[in-house]
Structure formats: structure tokens, C-alpha cells
């Protein structure tokens, strides 16, 4: 009886470590992407950030202990036009010289069942930090863990677009940040 109990315990322990062993944490930048959607004169527009570094630790067996940190190099923005890229680097937009990096740092990950999670954290852009909750999914694709999600922010909350751009009639307030972070198992 005692031996069976021990064996059971051992196998539980093994199962637990086996599950923990699959921690996705080696970010694959070439398979990761950060884009944003916005509206200009009522027309849907897309942009991307070419350069960002991300750290990710995610174990599907223990999502609560997962963490994510993303730092976006704002100078790498691609708004679709050179004129636009130059404009958003200015003081009235990102003030890229003063605040070169936008940062997201997770504080808690809540599983919502299935592939779905809610990632709470702090988003810092242009010196303003705000608590955000990001709906995300986690799936395993081709052996890598893929974190995907979208977060709608209001550019006005971060003083992005001041002065003449402050009104939201030409460039809308809502901006959807879409991300896809791919990480291999460690």
C-alpha cells in the first residue's frame, strides 16, 4: 500500500515537472509582430513597429506565474508614409527623443478557459503609465508558443497627438494595438 502511494506520488511529481518543463520563453523576433490600427478621416489605417524586444515566460500548466514585458522602439514606427513617420516622432505625438521606448509590463495573468487569458499590466507611453487589461490567446503552433491579442487604447490618455491634432475628428482617439509574440520552449 505504502509503495503504491509512493509510486503515485512520484508519478504526480513527475507529471508536474513535465508540465512545468514546457515553458515558452525564447522569443522569436522574426515571428513576432506589433501593429496598430487607427482611423484617419474615417478611413481604417494600419501601421507597425519594426523594432521591439520582448521577454516572455509562459507555462500553460501554470499560467498564473506567467509574465510578459514588451519594449517598443518608437523610432521604428511605420505609419505608411514617410511624412507620417516624421510627424509622429515630434513632441506633439510620441516625442521620440524624450521618450524613445513604450513599455508594457504584465502584473497578473488570469486564465479565462480554453486558449483565452486576460493579461493585466502597466502600459507606459510618453511618460504616462496606465493600468491596462489585455485580452489574449495562447496557442502552440509548430512547437512554438504564440501569444496574440489586441488592446484598444485612447491616444488622448497618453498625450499622443497634441496641439492641432488634439481633436479626434481627423485622427480618431481609439487606437488598436495588435501583437503576436512567438516564443520557443526553453
Amino acid at each position: 500500500m505504502k509503495r503504491i502511494a509512493l509510486a503515485l506520488l512520484a508519478s504526480f511529481a513527475f507529471a508536474a515537472t513535465a508540465a512545468h518543463a514546457v515553458e515558452y520563453g525564447k522569443v522569436q523576433p522574426d515571428k513576432s509582430r506589433i501593429a496598430f490600427d487607427y482611423q484617419q478621416m474615417g478611413v481604417a489605417m494600419q501601421g507597425t513597429f519594426g523594432k521591439f524586444v520582448s521577454e516572455l515566460r509562459f507555462d500553460p500548466a501554470a499560467p498564473q506565474s506567467a509574465s510578459a514585458r514588451i519594449e517598443v522602439d518608437l523610432a521604428s514606427v511605420d505609419t505608411g508614409s514617410e511624412e507620417g513617420d516624421e510627424e509622429v516622432a515630434r513632441k506633439t505625438w510620441f516625442d521620440t527623443k524624450g521618450f524613445p521606448v513604450a513599455r508594457f509590463e504584465s502584473s497578473a495573468v488570469k486564465p479565462l478557459g480554453g486558449d483565452k487569458y486576460e493579461v493585466a499590466g502597466k502600459l507606459t507611453i510618453k511618460g504616462t503609465t496606465r493600468d491596462v487589461v489585455v485580452p489574449a490567446t495562447f496557442t502552440v503552433q509548430g512547437g512554438s508558443g504564440v501569444f496574440e491579442g489586441a488592446l484598444t487604447i485612447r491616444r488622448g490618455d497618453f498625450s499622443i497627438g497634441e496641439g492641432a491634432w488634439k481633436a479626434f475628428d481627423v485622427v480618431a482617439n481609439d487606437v488598436v494595438i495588435r501583437f503576436r509574440i512567438t516564443a520557443a520552449a526553453r
Binding site: Q40, M41, A44, G80, S81, E86, A164, V170
Partner: protein
């Protein structure tokens, strides 16, 4: 045989002429502005008005196909007839090609055209920066070509009126009462 153009042809001619003169000035003015919300608004209005011109030109072409214009004056030598026909064909081509190049440029640059903010035009080209810049140059060069052809067009009309003293200009103008 009636020596005048039809009222519809006249209306379309002068409406489109007015819009094109406006569009030329508008286009050169707006591209010189620094980026601002006003500039983005003007670009949108330019695109909307340009698409409107495109549609009017299609209507005009359809009308033209169904309604032969009055014959050219008998005194015109063959070379002038040829120049008139070539010039008019070129004007039709440019009136279509300029808005078309603008539309394609917008697509290639990733700025979809939504007519008056209501009717989205399909993007016939995928986003492609290099192609967008090329089409910008095409739009620009076509516009300069149009200006050159228009100078010839207006010059020819004035020559007919003041030098040849024929009815070529009159027959495109509103009929005098009585």
C-alpha cells in the same frame, strides 16, 4: 443640322472644366502644405472631388458615344483637323488617367479612398511603398501634361473665335435667347 453641341454635352464640358481647374490648383496647393489635420482633410476632399470628376467623365464619354458632335468648320486644313482630334482624344485619356492614377496611388500608399467618407472604393493595388511613390510621380507628370494640352485647347478655341472667326467656341457656349 444643328451646329451646337447638345445641352447635356455643354453642361458636362463646363462642369468638368470648372472642376479640373479647381482640382489642379487644389492639388498643387495642398501638396505644398506641412502635415496638419487640415492637410489630411484637404487630401480627402481632393480624392472625393477627383473621383466625382472621374464619374462625370464616364457619363460624358457615354453621352459622347451616343451623340456625334457637330462637324468641324469646312475651312480647317487636314493638319488642324488631325490636331483637334488628337487633342480631344488626349484630353479624354488624361481626364480618365489622372483620377485613376490618384486612386491607384492612394491604394498603393495604403490610404484607401472612401468617397465622401461613405462609399469605400476597392483597393485595386496592395500596399507597396515604391509603387505608391511611382504612381505619385505618374499623377504629377500626367497633371503637367494636362496643363500643356489644356493650354493648347484653350489657345485653339480662342484662335477659332478671334482669328478664324468661326463658330467653334460659340457652339459650346449656352445658346443666346431669341
Amino acid at each position: 443640322m444643328d451646329t451646337h453641341y447638345t445641352a447635356t454635352a455643354k453642361l458636362l464640358h463646363w462642369l468638368i472644366a470648372l472642376m479640373i481647374f479647381g482640382m489642379l490648383g487644389f492639388g498643387f496647393y495642398m501638396t505644398g502644405l506641412d502635415l496638419s489635420p487640415t492637410k489630411l482633410e484637404l487630401y480627402s476632399w481632393h480624392k472625393w472631388a477627383g473621383v466625382t470628376v472621374f464619374v462625370l467623365v464616364l457619363v460624358r464619354l457615354a453621352w459622347r458615344i451616343g451623340h456625334k458632335p457637330p462637324a468641324l468648320p469646312a475651312h480647317m486644313p487636314a493638319i488642324e483637323r488631325l490636331a483637334a482630334h488628337a487633342g480631344h482624344h488626349l484630353l479624354y485619356v488624361l481626364m480618365l488617367a489622372i483620377p485613376l492614377s490618384g486612386w491607384l496611388m492612394s491604394s498603393a500608399k495604403g490610404f484607401q479612398t472612401v468617397w465622401f467618407g461613405v462609399l469605400p472604393l476597392p483597393d485595386l493595388l496592395a500596399k507597396d511603398k515604391a509603387l505608391g511613390n511611382l504612381l505619385e510621380t505618374v499623377h504629377f507628370v500626367l497633371n503637367y501634361t494636362l496643363i500643356a494640352v489644356l493650354l493648347g485647347h484653350v489657345g485653339a478655341a480662342l484662335k477659332h473665335h478671334f482669328i478664324d472667326r468661326d463658330d467653334v467656341l460659340i457652339r459650346m457656349l449656352p445658346r443666346r435667347k431669341g
